[in-house]
C-alpha cells in the first residue's frame, strides 16, 4: 500500500501546480490522473498566456492576477512559452466606448497597452482585415499546455512529488469524518490499490462533481464546451484579440507553425469533446472579421474542451457562471481534509496552487512558504549540451528538442544519438521528432499508447496528422519491445482514430485529400481493417 500525506486527484494544470507547490514545501504528495496528463481541459484550449487585457474591463482582480502570473511564467516556464506579445484590434462592429474603458482599465491593472497606428499594425500582421480601426500591443503570449504540465511534474519530481497516470480513483475513504485514503484502479491492468493519506485535493476540473460524489458529496460544476480550430499556417505572429466584450471566436494564437482560433461556449457534459461542423462554421464567420481571408487557410484539425465553471447556484449556466476559481473545503459538508478546487484559468495555475496549498498547509500544520514563483520548472541546457545537441539534431530541431525535453531528458536523448547515430532519423518530419526522442519517451513508465508519445513530443501534431509517423512510431516502439506495444494493429488504430476525430468535422479540401492518403496507406496497402484468412 502506498502512503503519502496528500493525494491530488487530476493531472491538469491545477493538479500539477498543486503537486509541485506541495512538493517544494516539503509535503509528501502523489498525483493520480485517470487518463494521461493534460488529456482534458489543460490541452484543449488555445494555448494562450493571458496578458489580462481580456479581463481588464469585466474583472480587474483576474486581470491583475493574469499579468502577474504571465510575468512569472515567462521566466519559470520559458521553454513552454513563446513570448509573442499580443495585439488587440477593434473592428467596426465593436464599441468605441468599450475601447476607451478598456484603455483606462488596462492602465489601472498595470497591463501595458501601447496604441499603434493601423499602418503599423498591418506591417506587423499583414493578414489582418483592412477594415479594422484601432490596435494596441500587449504582453500576451502563447503557451504549450502539454509541455507546461510535464515540466511542472518534472520540477515536482525533483522534490519527491510523484504523478501517476491512467489511475482512476474509485473510492475516497474516511474514518470518523476525516479522509484516510483513496482507492485507485489501474486503467491498463485493472489492478486496484489503496493510497493512504491525510488529505485529498480534488483538482478534477469538469469531473469535480463525479469525484466529490465518491465521498457522497456534491459539487456544482457546469462544464461549458469550447471549440477550437487549428490552422496549418502561422496566420499571425502575435496573439490577436478582438477589442470588445469577451465573446466567441475572437482570439487567434500562433504556436510554432500553426495558429489556433478559439473559442465558443456551450453547456455540455464533462467528457464532451466532440465538435460539430456547425460550430466550426459559426466560428469561421466571426473569425473572418479579424482575418478576412480565413476561408483560404487550410485547417489542420478542430478540437474541443470543457471549462469547469463553478457555480454555487445549480441553475447558473454558461458565461454567467463564474470563471474565477474556488477552493471548497468539504469540512463544511462534514468531511475533513478533503478539498475540491474548481474553475480558474490556465494562466494563473501557479497562483491558484499557491492559494490552495496555503490553506492545506495550514490545516496540516506546515509552515513552509510557497516558492514556486522563484524557481524554473526545468533547468536550461548548458552551453556544452546545446553544442552537443546542435551536432546531432537536424538544423532547427536542436532548439525544438531542447525546449521540449528539458535539460536532463535532452542529455539522455543526445546520448542515444551519440552512441547510435541512426537514432537521429526523423520519425515526424512535421514536428522534427527524432527516433531517439520517441524511444526515450516510449521507455518511460507513463507511456502506454502512441497518443501518449504525441502529447510528450508533438509527434503527429503537424501537417500530415500522423499519416507517415504512425507507421514509424509503431515500428519504433515495437523495436524497443515495450510491454505495451504488443498489438501493432491496435496501436495504429488508436493513434489514427484520435487524429481522425479532429479532421472529421472539417473534411473538405486538403483535409479530405490527406485522409484519402491515410486510408490508402493504412487500409488499402497495410489492411488494418481487413480480416485475414491466410492459409
Amino acid at each position: 500500500m502506498l502512503k503519502t500525506t496528500v493525494v491530488v486527484i487530476g493531472g491538469g494544470a491545477t493538479g500539477v501546480g498543486i503537486l509541485r507547490d506541495l512538493s517544494m514545501r516539503g509535503v509528501d504528495a502523489i498525483l493520480v490522473e485517470r487518463d494521461d496528463l493534460g488529456y482534458w481541459t489543460s490541452s484543449r484550449f488555445h494555448g494562450l498566456l493571458h496578458s489580462g487585457g481580456r479581463y481588464a474591463v469585466k474583472d480587474k482582480e483576474a486581470a491583475k492576477e493574469c499579468i502577474q502570473e504571465n510575468t512569472i511564467l515567462r521566466k519559470i516556464g520559458r521553454h513552454c512559452v513563446e513570448a509573442t506579445e499580443s495585439i488587440f484590434v477593434r473592428a467596426p462592429e465593436d464599441s468605441e466606448e468599450f475601447e476607451q474603458e478598456w484603455v483606462k482599465s488596462c492602465a489601472e491593472c498595470g497591463i501595458s497597452a501601447v496604441p499603434i497606428s493601423m499602418d503599423e499594425a498591418f506591417k506587423l500582421e499583414p493578414n489582418l482585415s483592412r477594415k479594422l480601426l484601432s490596435a494596441y500591443r500587449c504582453p500576451g503570449a502563447a503557451v504549450d499546455g502539454f509541455r507546461l504540465l510535464w515540466q511542472t511534474v518534472a520540477s515536482a519530481n525533483k522534490y519527491g512529488g510523484k504523478a501517476m497516470t491512467y489511475k482512476e480513483v474509485i473510492g475516497i475513504e474516511t474514518e470518523n469524518g476525516t479522509v484516510v485514503g483513496v482507492k485507485i484502479r489501474d486503467r491498463w491492468t485493472g489492478a486496484e490499490e489503496k493510497i493512504s493519506c491525510d488529505f485529498v485535493i480534488s483538482a478534477s476540473g469538469s469531473f469535480a462533481g463525479e469525484v466529490a460524489h465518491l465521498a457522497g458529496l456534491s459539487v456544482n460544476v457546469k462544464p461549458s464546451k469550447g471549440t477550437l480550430i487549428a490552422f496549418n499556417h502561422r496566420i499571425c505572429n502575435r496573439v490577436v484579440h478582438r477589442l470588445h466584450k469577451s465573446s466567441d471566436a475572437d482570439i487567434f494564437v500562433p504556436h510554432g507553425s500553426i495558429t489556433i482560433l478559439g473559442t465558443s461556449s456551450i453547456d455540455s457534459a464533462p467528457d464532451d469533446t466532440s465538435t460539430e461542423t456547425a460550430e466550426v462554421m459559426a466560428m469561421m464567420e466571426i473569425g473572418k472579421i479579424t482575418f478576412e481571408n480565413i476561408y483560404d487557410y487550410r485547417i489542420l484539425r478542430v478540437f474541443a474542451g470543457t471549462r469547469p465553471l463553478y457555480s454555487a447556484d445549480p441553475n447558473a449556466k454558461g458565461r454567467s457562471a463564474s470563471r474565477g476559481f474556488v477552493a471548497l473545503d468539504h469540512a463544511h459538508d462534514g468531511i475533513n481534509h478533503f478539498m475540491s478546487v474548481c474553475g480558474g484559468k490556465f494562466t494563473t495555475y501557479r497562483l491558484m496552487a499557491e492559494k490552495v496549498c496555503d490553506i492545506v498547509c495550514e490545516q496540516l500544520g506546515v509552515n513552509a512558504k510557497c516558492h514556486t514563483a522563484e524557481e524554473n520548472l526545468v533547468d536550461d541546457p548548458s552551453p556544452d549540451l546545446i553544442s552537443r545537441a546542435k551536432a546531432v539534431f537536424p538544423s532547427y530541431g536542436a532548439e525544438l528538442a531542447s525546449s521540449r525535453l528539458g535539460n536532463e531528458k535532452l542529455e539522455r536523448v543526445i546520448k542515444r544519438i551519440e552512441t547510435q547515430p541512426e537514432m537521429k532519423e526523423l520519425v515526424c518530419e512535421c514536428e522534427n521528432v527524432t527516433l531517439a526522442e520517441i524511444e526515450e519517451v516510449a521507455s518511460e513508465p507513463t507511456s502506454h499508447t502512441v497518443s501518449d508519445l504525441r502529447r510528450r513530443t508533438r509527434l503527429g501534431m503537424g501537417t500530415c496528422q500522423g499519416t507517415f509517423c504512425a507507421y514509424r512510431s509503431v515500428g519504433a516502439v515495437n523495436k524497443e519491445n515495450m510491454p505495451w506495444a504488443k498489438d501493432s494493429v491496435y496501436l495504429f488504430k488508436e493513434f489514427l482514430e484520435t487524429r481522425w476525430k479532429g479532421i472529421r468535422p472539417v473534411l473538405w479540401g486538403n483535409m479530405l485529400r490527406d485522409i484519402e492518403l491515410t486510408r490508402a496507406i493504412y487500409d488499402a496497402a497495410l489492411n488494418l481493417s481487413g480480416v485475414e484468412e491466410i492459409k
Partner: protein, 421 residues
C-alpha cells in the same frame, strides 16, 4: 487544328491503360497529363475485389462481382469485361517483359510492411506470395538505415500469423551509403537503385547468403530494382537459391514506379502522344457533346479537340474531384456531385468503421456505358466516359479494389469508344 480520336485526361493507371487499349484498336490517342499522378504512390499491385460490403473475404473476385451493389463501377462493367480487361493487362505485362502473376478469378494473400496480409489479385513476380506459403523458413530482410520499413515489426507479426512449423527470422543488411543518414534519409527508392548496381548486388548477396537455409523465402521491402523487369529478382534468386517477396508498403512506391514505367513504355510503343504539364481547366460542350478541353499554362489557354474523351483525373487525392464545404464537384465538365450539406454526415465516427466509408464512395455518377450523369439526371456530354478513381460507388480501401476498378473501367471505356463494347 490537330484532332485526336480519343483524348484522355490523366496519366495514371486508368488513363495509360485506356490509351494502350484504344491505340491497340487503331485509334489515334492523346493523353493530357499534369503532375506525377498517384500511380507512383500506390503499390503497383492490382487489387480487384478483396472484401464484400460486410467485410467478408472474397476468394474469387470475378464471382464477387455478381452480387455487387448497382452503383458500384463493377456493376456497370460486369465480370465478363473485368476478365477481359485483366487478361489484357496481363498480356501487356508479358509483352513488356515484366509479367505479372495471378489470375482474375483468384485472390492472393500478400504480406505487408506491418507483417500482416492483404488480399490482392495480380502482382509482379517480385511479390510471388505463394512461394512464401510453400517455404519452411522465412527470412525478413531489412536495411539498417532505410526509412519506413521495420523488419522487427514485420517479423513479429508474421511469426504470429503463419503456422507454427514455419521458422521466421530477421536479418538486417548494412547499406554503408556514403550519403547515409547524416545527409539525408534513405528510402526504398535508393535501395532499389543500389540493388541494380553490381556493387549493391554483390554486397546484398554476401551479407544475406549465410542466413539462407534450405527452402527459404526472403520477405523484404519493395527494393528489387526501379526498372520494370526482373533482372534484380532473377539474379538474386539464382545466387541465393531462394524465393524473394516484396511486401505491400507505403510511399514512395518502388513497385508503383515500375508499373508506371511499364505503362508509359507500352503507350509509347503504340504511338500514344503524352502531353505533359497540360492542366485541363474546362471543356467546351455544344449540344451535349464535348468538342474540346481547355488547358491553362503559365501564359495562355489552349484547346485540345477530339471525337471522344476519357476522364481519368482521379479522385479527391489526385485532384480530379474538388471537395468544398458542403459541396463536391468535377471541375472539367462541371459536374456537381451530390453530397450532404453538413460535413460530419460525410463519414462515420470511426475512420476504420468496419464498413465502406461514406466519403470514399463519392464521385462522378455514370450510366451503364460510363457516361457521366449529373445530379438532375441529365447527361452533360455524351462522348465522355469516366474511369478510375473519379467514379462514384466504391471504397477501394475497404474493398481492396483500387487498381482493379481503374483497369476494368478504363478497358470498358476504351473498348466502347472503339466499337467493341
Amino acid at each position: 487544328m490537330k484532332k485526336s480520336d480519343i483524348l484522355i485526361i490523366g496519366n495514371g493507371i486508368s488513363g495509360l491503360f485506356a490509351a494502350c487499349i484504344a491505340a491497340d484498336m487503331g485509334k489515334k490517342v492523346q493523353i493530357l497529363s499534369y503532375g506525377a499522378g498517384t500511380l507512383t504512390i500506390g503499390g503497383g499491385i492490382i487489387d480487384v475485389l478483396g472484401y464484400d460490403d460486410q467485410g467478408k473475404f472474397i476468394a474469387d473476385p470475378l464471382k464477387g462481382m455478381d452480387g455487387i451493389s448497382a452503383n458500384h463501377p463493377y456493376a456497370k462493367t460486369g465480370a465478363q469485361t473485368a476478365k477481359k480487361a485483366l487478361e489484357a493487362f496481363l498480356k501487356i505485362t508479358e509483352e513488356e517483359g515484366y509479367p505479372y502473376l495471378g489470375s482474375p478469378d483468384k485472390n492472393l494473400w500478400l504480406p505487408t510492411a506491418v507483417g500482416n496480409f492483404k488480399p490482392t489479385c495480380l502482382v509482379p513476380r517480385t511479390m510471388d506470395t505463394e512461394a512464401l506459403f510453400k517455404a519452411d523458413n522465412i527470412l525478413v530482410v531489412g536495411f539498417d538505415t532505410m526509412k519506413d520499413f521495420y523488419a522487427d515489426m514485420a517479423t513479429k507479426n508474421l511469426r504470429e500469423r503463419l503456422s507454427k512449423n514455419k521458422n521466421v527470422e530477421e536479418f538486417i543488411v548494412k547499406l554503408n551509403f556514403e550519403y547515409g543518414r547524416d545527409l539525408r534519409d534513405i528510402s526504398a527508392m535508393d535501395v532499389a537503385r543500389w540493388l541494380e548496381t553490381d556493387e549493391g548486388h554483390r554486397s546484398f548477396v554476401d551479407q544475406v547468403k549465410g542466413h539462407v537455409k534450405a527452402n527459404t523465402a526472403i520477405v523484404l521491402p519493395p527494393v528489387l530494382g526501379l526498372e520494370p523487369n526482373y533482372k534484380v529478382l532473377d539474379s538474386l534468386k539464382k545466387e541465393l537459391s531462394c524465393a524473394l517477396i516484396e511486401v505491400s508498403s507505403l510511399p514512395p512506391a518502388v513497385t508503383g514506379t515500375r508499373l508506371n514505367k511499364m505503362l508509359h513504355s507500352c503507350a509509347k510503343k503504340r504511338g500514344v502522344q503524352i502531353i505533359e504539364k497540360a492542366r485541363v481547366v474546362g471543356s467546351e460542350i455544344i449540344d451535349g457533346k464535348c468538342q474540346a478541353v481547355i488547358t491553362e499554362g503559365f501564359d495562355r489557354q489552349r484547346k485540345f479537340y477530339a471525337e471522344q474523351f476519357i476522364l481519368a483525373t482521379g479522385g479527391v487525392y489526385g485532384g480530379g474531384i474538388i471537395a468544398k464545404i458542403g459541396a463536391m464537384s468535377e471541375p472539367i465538365f462541371n459536374i456537381d456531385i451530390e453530397v450532404p450539406k453538413v460535413q460530419t454526415d460525410w463519414s462515420y465516427k470511426q475512420l476504420f468503421a468496419d464498413k465502406k466509408q461514406i466519403f470514399a464512395q463519392y464521385g462522378v455518377s455514370v450510366d451503364e456505358n460510363l457516361t457521366p450523369v449529373a445530379a438532375d439526371g441529365s447527361k452533360p456530354a455524351s462522348n465522355v466516359k469516366v474511369v478510375g478513381r473519379s467514379l462514384a460507388g466504391y471504397d477501394f480501401c475497404y474493398e481492396k479494389s483500387g487498381n482493379g476498378v481503374a483497369l476494368i473501367t478504363a478497358y470498358k471505356a476504351a473498348a466502347a469508344f472503339c466499337g467493341e463494347a
